[in-house]
Each structure stands twice: as C-alpha cells, then as structure tokens.
C-alpha cells in the first residue's frame, strides 16, 4: 500500500512535469489578484485542462495515499504501545469526573488533590468519556484511539485548506504529503493528551479555511461555518483557538479589509463566543475570571520566539530537515514573487504562539513545501540552469551530453524525498512517543494499594515537565498527590504556572545529586512530601544518555540515607518513604 501510494505521487509529479508546465502555474497571488478574478483565489482544480487522462483518479489516489501514509505513521506509534503515549493522565481523570457527574461540568477535577478548577475546554474530554461509555473501548484505549483518529482526520482538513490556498494539484499533493509526514503535525496530537489538542488542531485548520473562503468569496454559509468551527476549536483547546484567531486575523489583514470583511469578522467572533458560552459561562459562574486570567498568563519560559525563528528547527525532523528546507525554499520563492502571506504566517506562529510554534507552524510550513516543489524544483529540473562550475568553462569540465535534466532524476528524486521524509517521521521523537511500561504501572498500583490516601509523593524522573509522563500519570493511576506535577496548574493563579515549572525543573535536577538536594528543594519551595518515587526508566528528554535508567546518583544516596527507607523496589520504580 505505501509503495503504491508513493508511486501514485511520483506519477503525478512526472505527469505535471511533462505536461508542458500547465500544472506548474503560478502560486496564486494573494497580494495582487489577477484581473480575471476578483479578490478570491480559490482553485477550481477539477476543471483545469492540463490534466491528462483520468487526472481526477490520479489526484484522488495521490491524496488518498498521502492520508493513508500519514495514518499509518501515526498508527505505528499508537499501536506500538498498550497505553496512551506520553501524557494524558489529567484528561483521563477529567473524563472520569464527567462520567461520574452525569456529564455535567463539575466545579473541580479530582486530579492531583482536587483543587484544580474544571476549566479546561471540555469538548475532547466529553468525546473521550462518551466514546468509552458508548463503545466497548475502555477509557485508556479511548485515550489511544481517539487522538489517533482525529489526528489522521487533520490531514483531510489540511487538504481542504491546501486546496483553497494553492493553485496546482502538484502543490496540493506535495503539501498534503508534507503535512502527513512532518513530525510536528502529529507528535503532540497522538499522545494521550492529544485528546484535546487533536480536536483543536482539526477545527482550527477548518476555521482558517472557512475564514479564507469568507474573505475571498463572501457568503453567510462561510461565516456560519467559520463561527461554528471556531467555537468547536475554542471548546477543544485554547491554544489552538488562539492559533485560529491570529491566523484569521492575518487573512483579514490581507483579504478582509473592507466594510463587509469587518462586519463578517465581527459576526464570526460573536458567533464563536455565543456558541462556546455553555463552557466559559459555566466556568465564570463557578470560579469567576481567575482561571482564565491564570491561563492567559502561562508562557513557556524557554521559548524565545526570535530564537525559535532563527533556529528554524520547528519541524522536529531528526535527520536532515527536508520539509523545513523545502519550506525555506518555498518562502524564498514567495518573497521573490511578492507573496508574503505564508512567510508572515510562519513568523506570526513563532511570535504569537512560541510554545506551540512547531505544531501550529506545520500548517504554513507544509503549504510552503508544496510551493517549493511546484515553483522551484519541478521547473528547475525541467530546465536546469548553468551553474558556477559550468559557466564559461564548458571546454574544460565534463560537458553536458544532452540538454535538460536526466529523465531519471525527477521520479527518483520524488521517491527519495518521500522515503526520506517517511524515515525521518518514523524515527522522530520515538522516546517521547512511548507509553508507561507495565512495570511502572505496577509500581503505581503498589503506591495506590500500599500508601495512605493522603500521602504526598515527590516524583523525580529527570524529565522536562511537558514530557514527564510519570509525573502526570501518577496522580491518575495511584490516586495520590504528586507535589511537583505541573499539569493542570495553568488554571491556578497561586502558585504561578512558571513558578510551578521552575519547581519541577529544580527537583528533576536532583536526579543527579543526593538526598540533600531534596531537602533543599523542600525548604526552598515550601512543599512537603512523604514518599519519593524514582522510576527505573531511561529519561526521554533528548540530552539523556540512551540506556541509562533514571536517577542512579539520587537512588544510591537515598539507599544510604537513614532519613529514607525503601518501601518498594521493583523493575519499574523505587519508592522511598521519608522517616
């Protein structure tokens, strides 16, 4: 199946190349609309005369192959584990809270001590709870399969956007393939915590597509759809709603600067707020404005937008960043053609959403990759230019035997690029995309069964907070309070979210220190704990050494320290009780 899919892509590219260039027409010029079109640049690809026999079939096959390939890659990670990948513990508890509360929004979640307001946008959590209630699938499996399904559907949503924004089928197919394979389009979506992110991402992409249609075509249908999809985005994930908002703002600045555009935009914004009111009004009624103020104040201290943009490593490709390279080439081609929408969109993602930059930027990045192939690579391979070495020196250096690129170059280049992106995707973040091992679940089950219900546990895993699956899942599986867990704290003003992150990081640094480090941490942060939980797993934060199990120095120190007593030492973790 993947081979056939790749072949379809290559055939399409070759056809495009040999069809005399009709498929490689210009990127639609948003800034300078052509005289024949008024404002809107939506492609009516089906009627293009340049496609050869059965073009729609080839087009559909290539797109289906891209979606299937993306689904296959995503599934390979999810089905490779018997537990939700990485995070999701908090949403797991929240979904059970919903079930226990008869699907009415509770005031607080039972997660990690019961003091966190149930203020999270609830759509994905409702979906998981319903999925687990209405199907034979367990709640844990719902947290594996639902994000996978929705993330695969995001490729289809992206196709709708690409078809709207790009002018040729070559560009659309390449962009969809790039989106299907670029790691950051799915890494954070297929995890357990993707139960909310994946829904948010899909609805955000669809919202942007409808906004573009609204600004370029007009019509109430697009306004209504944009409002509905925007509300669903807001009900799924606040960060994705912000992505949709500033992306629509960008499109408004380019296409919607008219009286009609302003009215439409205001109507859509009002519609979004009204449709999402059952959630935010409920939260306001129960907790006031505080949770939203706290959430608005969250920021990732390590994400400097300028640095992110300069690094240009947002795709998380572990090998050579092929898709990022194509995107850079596409951005350059766009600027040459005075089409600034997509480059500005990438910059806006970095500046306005530095924490989610890699994820949300995967949308314009994939579109730019399509433009690079359409506007740079295919035309160039059709008519290669003379280069530095050949200029003026044909008499000396190996001359070209025949004009034009070798016939094998385009298809083989396409196959190599697709295979390379696929390999890069499969090895992307494999350590992050793992679930809790049975041994560690056993250790947490022991904590649940053998420690007092009021016990306070300090988890030291050596991980960064957003990849610390142990810290997130312990409160869910053990039912005990984890004193350094960050998840859920974004809705609390005290302690501040970045202070919580700082405290988590400080205690993880104790992994390479001794018992005194824990004592100092407790003194500095004013937190107390009864147990220390040290997983016996290799930390998955990138700089950790492969094969090293967590925290050997701290474990050795606690073993020797008379202030601590080993109460559990299994293959998954060691638990120390504080005397």
């Amino acid at each position: 199946m993947p081979a056939a899919a790749l072949r379809s892509c290559i055939i399409l590219l070759v056809r495009a190349d040999t069809s005399g260039g009709d498929l490689s027409v210009q990127l639609r010029d948003y800034a300078n609309p052509p005289a024949r079109g008024k404002g809107l640049h939506v492609v009516e690809g089906a009627s293009r005369p340049s496609l050869l026999a059965r073009p729609d079939v080839r087009y559909a096959a290539a797109l289906a192959a891209a979606v299937a390939l993306g689904g296959l890659v995503r599934a390979s990670f999810v089905l490779g584990a018997d537990f939700p990948l990485n995070d999701g513990g908090m949403f797991f508890v929240m979904a059970r809270d919903l079930q226990a509360n008869g699907y009415a929004l509770p005031g607080f979640t039972a997660y990690n001590g019961g003091e966190i307001p149930f203020a999270y946008p609830p759509l994905g959590i409702y979906a998981a709870a319903l999925f687990a209630d209405l199907t034979p699938v367990s709640m844990l499996d719902a947290f594996r399969f639902l994000p996978l399904l929705v993330s695969t559907f995001s490729i289809v949503a992206f196709f709708l956007l690409a078809r709207t924004m790009l002018s040729t089928r070559v560009a659309v197919v390449v962009a969809v393939t790039a989106f299907a394979l670029v790691p950051r389009s799915f890494i954070w979506m297929i995890m357990g915590g993707g139960i909310t992110r994946s829904f948010g991402f899909v609805f955000a992409i669809l919202t942007v597509q409808q906004a573009l249609l609204l600004y370029t075509r007009g019509g109430r249908r697009h306004a209504a759809l944009a409002a509905c999809l925007g509300a669903l985005t807001l009900l799924s994930h606040v960060e994705m709603a912000w992505f949709a908002a500033f992306s629509c703002g960008l499109l408004f600045a380019i296409h919607g600067r008219s009286r009609g555009g302003v009215i439409s935009s205001a109507a859509v914004a009002a519609g979004v707020l009204v449709l999402a009111a059952p959630w935010w009004a409920n939260v306001l009624a129960q907790h006031g404005i505080e949770p939203f103020v706290a959430a608005a104040d969250t920021r990732s201290p390590e994400a400097n937008p300028v640095v992110l943009l300069i690094q240009f490593r947002m795709t998380a490709e572990p090998l050579f960043p092929l898709i990022a390279t194509l995107a850079a080439l596409g951005a350059f081609a766009c600027m040459v053609n005075r089409q600034y929408v997509l480059p500005v969109w990438v910059a806006a993602c970095a500046l306005l959403d530095p924490r989610g930059f890699g994820t949300v930027a995967s949308v314009p990045i994939a579109l730019l990759a399509g433009i690079a192939v359409q506007d740079v690579l295919v035309p160039f391979l059709h008519h290669p230019a003379r280069t530095a070495l050949s200029a003026g020196s044909d008499d000396l250096l190996v001359p070209r035997l025949r004009p034009g690129a070798p016939a094998w170059l385009l298809p083989s280049g396409g196959v190599i690029m697709a295979c390379y992106a696929l390999i890069g995707t499969l090895v992307a973040a494999p350590t992050l995309l793992t679930g809790l091992a049975p041994d560690e679940r056993d250790a947490m089950a022991w904590v649940a069964a053998s420690t007092p219900e009021a016990a306070r546990v300090l988890v030291v895993s050596g991980e960064a907070w957003d990849g610390d699956r142990t810290s997130e899942w312990l409160p869910a599986l053990a039912g005990r309070r984890s004193v350094a867990t960050v998840q859920g704290r974004e809705w609390l003003r005290e302690p501040a979210f970045d202070a919580q992150i700082h405290a988590h990081r400080a205690v993880q640094e104790c992994a390479q220190a001794d018992a005194a480090c824990l004592t100092n941490w407790a003194r500095d942060t004013g937190r107390t704990f009864d147990f220390v939980y040290l997983p016996r797993l290799s930390p998955r934060t990138p700089p950790s050494a492969e094969g090293d199990e967590c925290c050997p120095a701290l474990r050795a120190s606690l073993f020797a320290d008379t202030a601590y007593r080993v109460v559990y030492d299994g293959p998954g973790a060691t638990v120390f009780a504080k005397r």
């Binding site: 035309p379 530095a388 003026g392």
Partner: protein, 550 residues
Amino acid sequence: MQQPRPARPPRLVVIEGQRDTPPETRLSPTAYGVAICFAVALGALVRASFVLSQDFPLSDGGLFFVMAEDLQHSGYALPAFTSYNASDIPFAYPPLGIYAGALVADLTPLDMLQTLRILPLTASVLSILAFHLLARSLIRSQLAVVVSVFAFALLPRAFYWMIMGGGLTRSFGLLFALLALHQVVVMCRSGGARHAIAAGVFAGLTALSHLEWAWFVAFSTPILIAGHGLRREHLRDACIAGVVAVALAAPWWGTVIAQHGLSPFLAASQTASQTSANPLVSLLSFHFTDEPLFPLLATLGLIGLIAEVAGRRYLLPGWFLACLVLEPTAFGTVAMVPLALLVACGVTGVMLPMLEGPARSEHPGRILPPRWLPAAAAVAAVFYTLLSAALTSPKTLSAMTSDERDAMAWAAANTPSSSRFLVVTGDRWAIDRTSEWFPALTGRVSVATPQGYEFVPGRALEQKIEAYIAAQRCASSDAGCLDAWRARFGEAYAFDYIYLPRLEPRNFSTLDKDECCAALRAALLRDPGYRTVFDGPGATIISVRPKDAN
C-alpha cells in the same frame, strides 16, 4: 476565464527564463578583492574567537604535545617511540606539524602550550586562502568564487577539528592538501612539469602532515584529472607528482619502516574500519556540516548538488560521493571542500536566477522581485552562517580549565610516578580532552586512553576503545561496575587511582548542568574499598585500597 496559453507558460519562478543565461557575474577587481578579504577576515575572526577565548589548547593535543617535547629532547631526530602514556607507541605519526610545533616553541617566545593554540589557528586561516586558489582555478565566475570562499570560511567542519590542539597536524594537512589540489587543477589546464612537481611537493608535505588528508589528495587527484578529460599528458604529470610526493616523504616513512617495519602503517590502515561511521548513515543524516542552527550551507550545497546532477555535470557530485565512500571516518571534514564549491553552484545556479527572473520583454506581466531582496538575502545569509559558525559545538571547542589542570598537577606531584589511573569522564573517546591530556600533564599512565594506539599493531586501538567505552559507562553506576571492568579487561588495565573530573561531559548525551559521574562519585565515596585523596573544584581523585587493607 482562461488566459491564452503562451508558447512557454509564464512562471513566477525565474529559473526557466534564465536557463540559457550564464550566471557568471564579473566583479570589479576591487570588489572581488574586498569580498575575498572580508571572507578570510570573517573566517579568521570565527576561528580566533574560539582559540583566543581560552588559555589552553582547545580539546585534544596532549599526544602531540608530548611528541613535540620528545623531538626537542632527541635533538630533532625521529625517536623510535614516544614517551606519551608510558606505552610502546611508535613515533610513526606524520611529523611535519609536530616538528613545526617544536621549532616554534624553541625559536620563538611562545611556549609549547601556546604553540598548540596559535599554530593550528594560523594554518587553519591560511587554508581559507589556499581554498580560494583552488576555487579560482575551478570556477570562472568571480561571484561564485566569492560565495564558495565565504562558505568554506564559515563552514564549522572546515575548522572545527583544525583549531584544536590536535589540529597541529590536521590543519597543516588541510592546508597542503588544498595547495596540492590547486596545483593538480593548474597542471591539468596549463600542463607542464613545473606544476606537476609543485603538486608533488605539496602532496608530499600533506603526507608528512596527516595521513587522512594525504588519502584525500590521493583519491581527489584522479577525480579532478578525469574532470578535465583523461589525457596521456595528464597521466604522465600525475605520475611525476606521485613520485615527487613519495620521495619527499621518504625521510619519514623510511625511518619508520627501518625502525618498526610496516606494522605501524598496517595498523593505521585498519583504524578506519575500527572507528568509521556508517557512510550510508552519514549520507542519510546529512548533518555533517555541524551547523547548530538550520543547516543553511548544507542546504545550499544539496541544492547545488541537485543542480549539477540536473545539468549532467558530475564532477562535484562525484567528488562529494567519493569523500563519503572512500573517507567515511573523516567524511564531514574532507567533504567541506567539494561542499563549499557546491554551495556556489546552488547559489549561482538556483538562487540567483530566482532573484533575477526571466527577461521582462519575454513576460511583460511578470511580477518583479522586490529590489531589496537580493541584498537582504545576501546579508541575512552571511550573518546566519556567521552566527551558526560562532555557535558551533562550543562545548567540544573548549579547553581544560585551570581547576582541572590543578587537579592534574596534584596528581603529578603527589602520586608515585609508576601509578596507573583510570580516567572516567562520560565522554566519547575522540573528544575526551581529559583522557588525552592526563598522561601529558601528569606523566602518569591512563590505562584506558586510546590516543596514539592507531600505530600500535595487533588491533590495539580497537581493544583500547572497547575498554574506554566500557569504563565510561561506569560514570552512571557504582563500584561494582569498576570491579566488573577490571575483571573483564585483566591485569593489563589494572589501576591504582580513579580520576573523576567535575566537569560537564561534552558528548551532548547528558543534562547540561550535570557534572561528570555523580553516581560513581557518590558510590565510591561510601565504598570502603576506595579512599578519596583529592577533591577539588576540577576533579576528584580516589585511590584503590589494597584488598588486605580492608
């Protein structure tokens, strides 16, 4: 409504319209000179910024430091063995750089350590000028020459291994290799025995400096000759160059053969197979430029490579692939030469035509690129590569701190001269400055240091590396790991002391702020079989108690 289909469909991307226009851009002599000087100055600045920010040779060089002192002590006659690490390591290393280091230290106010900082830096900067000669002989477009010189000056891997202390030999190897290849190209174009002899002299100096660069010259020469068409006179000149090179290097290889036979060379020839990376993995990862940000130069090189293949010009792609296949160990370093030329092809063959666009007369409705874009793109590219070069591998391009040198001085002053140390750093052997400098600064044996063993027969290097890797794994373990290590490798690796630096490992596989070996240090401090004899800010030295003392 469809537009009438033009004979050649208009494209906003300009390549098509430019395909018959040679991208050569001739610069005024002043502009050309200023641009080359600017490139060389930038390259020198980046290199110097690393070297001059430290008061000790960067990273490695301990072995050459001792060898240079050996030369001074023997009155500049080649000794049979080096005194490094009190082992029977033949003095078989190509000695030109080591002679240069010893002479500079003898004849100038610079001491030997300062020489190991300044000489590699100087040779590395001169290599940019040598590359300019090579690029100018291969490329007619002056703009392309300028681009390639900028690329070579700022490519991290073009200087990364050259400016370290161990660059004493590598940097001279690169310098002479570039000069030799320049003479090969001139020889092919102009003919004449003069250039053949010059090529032979530089090739001989390359062989006297560094074997890897000599091998690079050896396989690059036929490729460049083939690129100019295989003619009888080229083959004749190449033979002359080869004879001159072999004759020039004879005093070295003749001495080594007379003293040790062929075994050091046979051992060295096996080194690559023992240490090389998988060439396919190197090619697939395409990370060999070591650019810490977005790999802009690697990308432009890749675009240039595709442009050359698309234009059916296979010289540079072939040379690049030859580096991968024939020199997998040092692929990232030697491939910088063809890569910098490919960058020029990418810029002049793909990027510039995009900016210039097809003739406006041909496509009157065409949108012209913004006027500011070419200048902005050029400035941005230079600044980006400069930033990237300045950021490159700062952890590896660091020197031994004064604290660690103090710890080693303590070991030299307070331990018996026959004592044997196990140095555990958590590093990889090729960048483990502590393991390499320890024997040089303390005069004590470091039982797991692999440096120098490439010339020892009997697969000695392979065994050393195996022991080294196993020892470093104990960094996150306890005393039992050391016991197992000792049992596995036997009496030949017996040690009296363990040296644990208090530094961050530089192999990028541990958390940034962690100092080396916290777990092992904590375990040994509690273990009655060990006793801490020195614990300073640079290192902890722990002695092994005799078993009957327990």
